[in-house]
């Protein structure tokens, strides 16, 4: 290939002087410079290819949905009493629903996920730990629609309950736990063993060492991981379509009635050809992107305010 050619076209030293000091330290090898350039070009190209779709999506969402977010009613009103063909109304019911479900999901999955990670890193030895770790791997690979159907089979078919927001959060929890476990595990593994030993050597019991030394040292990383996992889960749509149908009104009851969310709001008007409906689709999309972006930002921000000082 081209790299082989580059090698032959640029003799660096006369034969025989191989590695003698006369070769000079400061001289640049032309072949190496060319390879360097090639690698740079390839890298930038790959980067550009990766970024184009991102910018494209952001750009078109902004252009098509941006004006919706500038209207005050978007942030104050629901879609109650507004048909697809009519303009007006807001997204507050969906924003609220998405946030409520995110919080409930976090409340359920964070303790389970973090404690599982603590078990795996600090206590896990032998068979049980390997089994748990394997289970987490499997859970990571479960498609969201499968998680949703599982909860549906349990909640609706087996128990005979209604489809409610809480069922949605159960499915989301199932999806979020493995990401919390994995990210927390990574962060705990980063805590140097020397700190644990230093604490043991002071006569501090293991559980206290974990709570007061290990977890605080990894704290900001753990929080960042949780927030990023939450941002990911907030956009999941399959569980919502299966377990949490759309409604146009504000609803906050987790256990009764329907609760709107941004993904279902997008899905609702998606098939309409009318401009007011399309505007709402793009507006809701942009709002969702914005929410996820804010969570990401918060994650980075917490990372900055790490408790680890130096």
């Amino acid at each position: 290939m081209s790299t082989a050619q580059l090698d032959t076209t640029t003799p660096t030293t006369p034969p025989g002087t191989g590695s003698s000091p006369t070769r000079g330290l400061g001289e640049r090898s032309g072949g190496r410079a060319a390879k360097d350039l090639l690698a740079k070009v390839v890298m930038w190209l790959a980067f550009a290819i990766a970024v184009v779709p991102l910018v494209w999506i952001l750009g078109s969402t902004l252009v098509k949905g941006g004006h919706m977010l500038l209207e005050a009613q978007w942030w104050t009103n629901s879609q109650a009493g507004i048909t697809s063909r009519r303009e007006g109304g807001g997204a507050v019911h969906a924003i609220q629903g998405t946030l409520i479900q995110a919080v409930v999901t976090a409340v359920m999955s964070v303790p389970v996920g973090v404690l599982t990670a603590v078990y795996l890193v600090e206590y896990g030895r032998g068979r049980l730990a390997r089994v748990v770790s394997f289970m987490v791997d499997i859970l990571t690979g479960i498609p969201s629609i499968v998680a949703a159907l599982f909860v549906y089979a349990l909640w609706v078919t087996t128990f005979g309950f209604q489809r409610v927001a809480f069922a949605v959060t159960l499915a989301l929890t199932l999806l979020m736990i493995p990401t919390v476990v994995r990210s927390t595990e990574e962060m705990l593994k980063l805590v140097p063993n020397e700190l644990r030993e230093a604490s043991y050597a002071l006569g501090v019991p293991k559980w206290k060492t974990i709570m007061k030394v290990v977890v605080p040292t990894a704290f900001s990383g753990i929080v960042t991981g949780i927030l990023l996992g939450l941002a990911r889960v907030m956009g999941e749509t399959a569980p919502l379509i299966i377990l949490g149908p759309y409604t146009k009104v504000i609803a906050t009851d987790l256990f009764g009635g329907l609760m709107a969310t941004l993904p279902t709001m997008i899905n609702q008007d998606r098939t309409e050809a009318l401009q007011p409906a399309l505007d709402r689709v793009w507006g809701a999309s942009l709002t969702l992107i914005l929410l996820v972006f804010l969570l990401n930002l918060l994650g980075r921000f917490v990372g900055r305010f790490s408790k680890v000082k130096s």
């Binding site: 030993e197 050597a201 002071l202 019991p205 030394v213 680890v308």
Partner: protein, 258 residues
């Protein structure tokens, strides 16, 4: 206060691997004992059995007995956590807690074990830092992070942290190996001062250091690679350095191997 350590027929294992075999020795209270020997002969391993830190490593276990005065450290009724409060340890690399201030680092042992009295804590912080010869350098920035100190200061901080829980014995695993000569001297002076209150065991690769700070020296060696390490000779530092009984000790000290 300081206590005598009696080690008898100690075998130390990492899983199935026998790392050290048949160590028998006595460490007198208020004295400094130096462990010397080539890399991998088991100095750190032996040291870590003296405060039951060895068993923190998965698969780590021991045979034999370690007595602290008349208490058997490895008796089944003995709580390893309590042992570690009595026998403190300073590690090779300074390891202050990165989330804590200088003050909290020193107070960590007491605070994490439930002492809340602020006045008492402040008192202990001050005496410990003074004891570790660090007080003058840090007294104006006790609330700054401990990780912001220089390597030598961090090591003295770790010594302060270890003596803050008021142990009877202090174990040090190559405490100066990451330090410059001046910090090393500071720590050696400190060891000389601490000697009057504590029983000290120190691992070192530096012969001059062993000769300077210790009253008693123990030479460890491997018979052959793959064999467990063993205690070749232990005795008065002066005698070990001037007139060792074993040929291996003489060779090692005079730099002929290791």
């Amino acid at each position: 206060m300081a206590k005598r350590i009696d080690v008898k027929d100690l075998d130390i294992y990492y899983g199935d691997f026998k790392a050290v075999e048949g160590v028998t020795m006595t460490v007198e209270p208020r004295s400094v004992t130096a462990f010397i020997g080539p890399s991998g002969c088991g100095k750190s391993t032996v040291l870590r059995t003296l405060n039951r830190m060895h068993e923190v490593i998965p698969g780590g276990r021991v045979d034999g007995s370690v007595m602290l005065d008349d208490q058997d450290l490895y008796a089944s009724s003995m709580d390893p956590v309590a042992v570690r409060r009595t026998v403190g340890m300073v590690f090779q690399r300074p390891n202050p807690f990165p989330t804590m201030s200088i003050r909290d680092n020193v107070a960590a042992g007491l605070k994490l074990n439930g002492l809340k009295n602020k006045k008492k804590l402040d008192e202990v912080v001050e005496t410990s830092l003074k004891g570790a010869n660090l007080w003058n350098e840090v007294k104006d920035r006790l609330d700054k992070p401990g990780a912001g100190l220089s390597g030598g200061q961090q090591q003295r901080l770790c010594i302060a942290r270890a003596i803050a829980v008021n142990p009877q014995v202090l174990l040090m695993d190559e405490p100066c190996s990451a330090l410059d000569p001046i910090s090393t001297l500071a720590i050696e002076d400190l060891i000389n001062e601490l000697k009057s209150d504590y029983t000290i065991v120190i691992v070192t690769h530096n012969m001059q250091q062993a000769a300077r700070v210790s009253d008693q020296t123990a030479f460890f060696n491997l018979k052959a690679t793959g064999e467990p390490g063993r205690l070749v000779e232990v005795g008065d530092t002066q005698r070990i350095f001037s007139n060792p009984t074993e040929k291996a000790t003489e060779d090692y000290i005079s730099g002929r191997f290791g």
